[in-house]
Symmetry: C2
């Protein structure tokens, strides 16, 4: 049942987009605001939700707050998906492609 919070938190598109951007690189709240049409408090609230789920971590530096993704927190979701995605062959091919792309 541990995946419940992850599903709930990641169900929101804005929150998913924030997480995705933070996987690429660490960013401040102001950085994150760019490209989103919501207010700064909304961003902060989403970050708090992601943080409560362990999906992002915060590093404070003066008046700035830098956030970065913690993909390991996806583990329960990965487990769930692995359990129920029984169509392995295609998935293996996709994983190979993915790893090839990342090796460069």
């Amino acid at each position: 049942m541990i995946e419940a919070e992850l599903f709930r938190v990641l169900a929101d598109p804005t929150r998913r987009a924030l997480f995705e951007r933070l996987v690429a690189r660490e960013m401040s709240v102001s950085d994150l605001r760019e490209g989103f049409s919501v207010s700064q408090p909304a961003i902060s609230q989403h970050l708090a939700a992601l943080r409560a789920a362990g999906l992002v971590e915060e590093r404070r530096e003066g008046r700035f707050a830098y956030y970065r993704a913690n993909p390991e927190a996806l583990a329960p979701l990965v487990n769930w998906v692995d359990t129920y995605s029984t169509f392995w062959p295609k998935r293996i091919e996709r994983l190979k492609d993915l790893l090839r792309r990342m090796d460069q």
Copy 2:
């Protein structure tokens, strides 16, 4: 963006539980009702949502409706999870090992 509907539909715990039971085996709506505290219409509504997302399929037989899971519909979710959990270094190694073993 294709994973959006999957996240939304699977965010509901009751719906996830229904899907999980239907992965194990095909069941009628009445069968599914057992173990849940919600009404029959609620079950039907959840099944309709799962069906719209392609996560379950229906087979009619007389006055019965038999549902079964279609795990392949998880593909976009699997893809998303793989994309972002691959940034988890240990998972990369695990996946590489897995693929090496499967190449033989």
